[in-house]
Structures are given as C-alpha cells and as structure tokens.
C-alpha cells in the first residue's frame, strides 16, 4: 500500500483541465455529430440520387456495390453522428468520420484534377455550406475543417457530458477493477477501500 495519494487515472474526456478547454470537444461533438446525422437522414430520403452521385465519383464500382454504398454511407453518418452526440465510443466514432472524410476528400480531389463538375451529394438535399457551387476549394475547405474537428475530438476525447464514463465504469466493475482508478482489486475483500485511490466500493 502506498503512503502517498495517487491521483485517479485521467478520464477519457480530461485531456485538458480547464472547463473552457474541456467544453471545446463537447461543442465540436455536438456540431459535427448533428451535421452528420442531418446529412445521413437527408441522403436516406433519396438514396437513388445519392447512388447517382457515388456513380459519378467514378470509383470503378459495380452497380450492385453502389446500391449498397448508397445506404451504408448514410447509415455510417447517422450512427457515428449519434455516437458523437452521446459521447459513446467517441474516439472510435471520430476515427470513422475522419477516415470517411479523408475518402470523400480524396474522391473530390480526383474529380477536380480530372476537370469534372459533379454534384457530390455530400449533404443530400441540404446543400449546406457550398450550395450548388461546382466542386472546388469550398468543398475542400469544408472537409478540411470537419476533419480537423474530428481529429481534435480523437486527441482530446469527448470533453464533458459523455456516456463513455458509464461504459468505462461498467467495464472496470466487470473486470474486477476499482471503478474510480482502474486498480486491480484481485485478492481484496469486496468491501475494502481501494489501496490506490481510497475509493469506497460501498459508496
């Protein structure tokens, strides 16, 4: 048993200490998650049009694959957006969004390089930010900003108001660890306080 108190393990949302700092990922989560939920719903309202947009990206996919992607991409956006808003599996959801945005951006750069003017269908019928403008700098800047936001969430964690905390507590309880600091309680009586952080399991 150590005599000096050991601070509890940092929470997944505590990449920075100040309230303002920890509010940044929260705001980014809500904005980015909300945007992607809207985008996914908008695409699912008319999957045929989104399928047409995928076709024009000229990815060499078969029609049957495009038809599956026309549903899978919006569902990915809805699921990851919801997870970001809830703060559940936050870093994983941010990584999926980052990967997806990188793929979209690569496709847009290819089309711009090929001199093709295509409606990317990025936000379905919503036409957010870039409206009806042909593919160009606006789309790249928009994607760059969203990728930066996803990266910040990945690095800083969920910030405040997140469900990852509940999931972590459940996991530690299941693995026989101290719920507060993750200390392995193997061999300790069930009611004994944690020797690392002093957490009282009865409390």
């Amino acid at each position: 048993v150590t005599s000096t108190p050991i601070s509890p393990a940092p929470s997944p949302g505590a990449a920075c200490g100040t309230p303002v700092c920890s509010a940044i990922p929260l705001v980014l989560r809500l904005v980015l998650g909300g945007l992607f939920i809207l985008a996914g719903i908008s695409k699912l309202q008319n999957p045929a049009v989104f399928g047409g947009a995928i076709y024009k990206f000229d990815l060499g996919l078969a029609e049957s694959q495009i038809k599956v992607l026309a549903f899978a991409i919006p569902w990915t956006e809805i699921i990851t957006g919801t997870l970001l808003v809830l703060g559940l599996m936050t870093r994983g959801a941010a990584l999926v969004l980052l990967t997806m945005l990188a793929g979209f951006t690569f496709g847009i750069v290819r089309l711009i390089a090929a001199g093709k003017s295509v409606d990317c269908g990025c936000f379905g019928q919503l036409k957010l930010f870039c409206g009806d403008a042909p593919l160009g700098a606006c789309h790249l800047i928009r994607n760059g900003i969203m990728m930066a936001a996803a990266l910040v969430i990945m690095v800083m964690g969920p910030g405040r108001l997140y469900l990852d905390r509940c999931e972590r507590r459940l996991r530690r309880a299941r693995d026989g660890q101290c719920i507060r600091c993750g200390y392995d309680r193997a061999g300790l009586p069930p009611i004994a306080c944690c020797p690392e952080c002093g957490d009282n399991p009865r409390a």
Partner: protein, 181 residues
C-alpha cells in the same frame, strides 16, 4: 487507447455496413438509370469491301453521334428556341427556398423532394401530357432535374427534357428571372 479506438472504429464501421446492407435489401431496388447513361452501342464491324488492285479502299462509314437533345438533354440555345415557340411547361426541380430566391421566369416549382413521399405531387396532375416539358435545377451536374424528368417520363410525360446548364447557366447568360419575396 489507440488499440481500443481502432477496434471500436472497426466495430462501428461494420455495424454501419450491416445496417446499410440490410436496408438496401429491404428497400425497393434503386433505379440509377438517370445517372448512368449507357454509352451508345458500338457500331458493328463493317465487312471489308473487296477492292480492285490500285483502287483506293472505301472509307469506313463514320458513326453518327446521337444528339444530346435526343437523350433528353438540351442546351441554352435549344431551350430558348423552345421558349420562343410556346406552349412549353418549365419546371424548377430545386427546393422551394431556392426557387423563391430566383427562378426562370414562368417556371413552376416541382422539387425533387415532392416525389420522395411516394405519392404523386399535385402539380403533376395539372401538367399536360401533350405539351413538352423542360426541367432544370441548379446547373453543373446536379441530379434533381434528371431525377424529376425520369419520374415524369415514367408517368407518361414522354416529351420531357432537361436543361443541362440549369439556373446557373441561365443567369450567367443574363436571361430574365423571377424572384418571390
């Protein structure tokens, strides 16, 4: 943390793919023909004409390209010529907000979203099947006009065209527009 993040990302991606796959199975088959324009069939190889020695071989016949308007696409010049010989039904396939901000003078609003509920938009019942229809959207390669045109053709409006330059092309050419405030 990195390992767990990657693992969770894979789980999320697989769950989303599964959701998309099952949704695509439950959904009615997608019709992508408005976006996928099949290339015209390649001309059959011509039999080689026997030529006499010293006679120049006959030139191979040049395949005649199918005019764009026969595939339902028209450009500004043809659109203006159709407008000059009315009657013509002009439809704006953009959303009502964009339509209100500005549209081709005399155009009616028939947004693509009006077809999404599954029913027939009211305006369709007011259109005449005997008169040509021109649909446009934002311009560039926007899909709304093609989508609406395809739905209209399926409903029996055989002479439906898409003005390919859209509203952007129309305003760039300095043609008259209407704004609803």
């Amino acid at each position: 943390v990195i390992r767990r993040t990657i693992l969770r990302a894979v789980v999320i991606a697989l769950a989303a793919l599964a959701a998309g796959f099952f949704h695509s199975r439950l959904h009615a088959p997608l019709d992508l023909s408005f976006a996928i324009h099949p290339a015209p069939p390649a001309p059959a190889p011509q039999p080689v004409q026997p030529t006499l020695v010293g006679q120049a071989p006959k030139p191979a016949p040049v395949p005649v390209p199918v005019p764009a308007h026969e595939q339902g696409m028209i450009d500004l010049a043809r659109f203006k010529s159709m407008l000059a010989s009315p009657p013509l039904q002009v439809l704006d396939a953009r959303e009502p907000g964009e339509y209100n901000k500005g549209h081709i003078t005399g155009a009616l609003s028939l947004p693509m979203s009006a077809f999404l509920s599954g029913g027939t938009p009211e305006l369709v019942n007011a259109l005449s099947r005997d008169l040509p229809i021109v649909v446009y959207c934002g311009g560039g390669d926007c899909d709304a006009s093609r989508y609406v045109a395809q739905r209209l053709r399926e409903m029996g409006f055989a002479t439906t065209f898409v003005y390919e330059d859209g509203y952007t092309g129309w305003t760039k050419a300095g043609e008259p527009v209407e704004v609803f405030k």
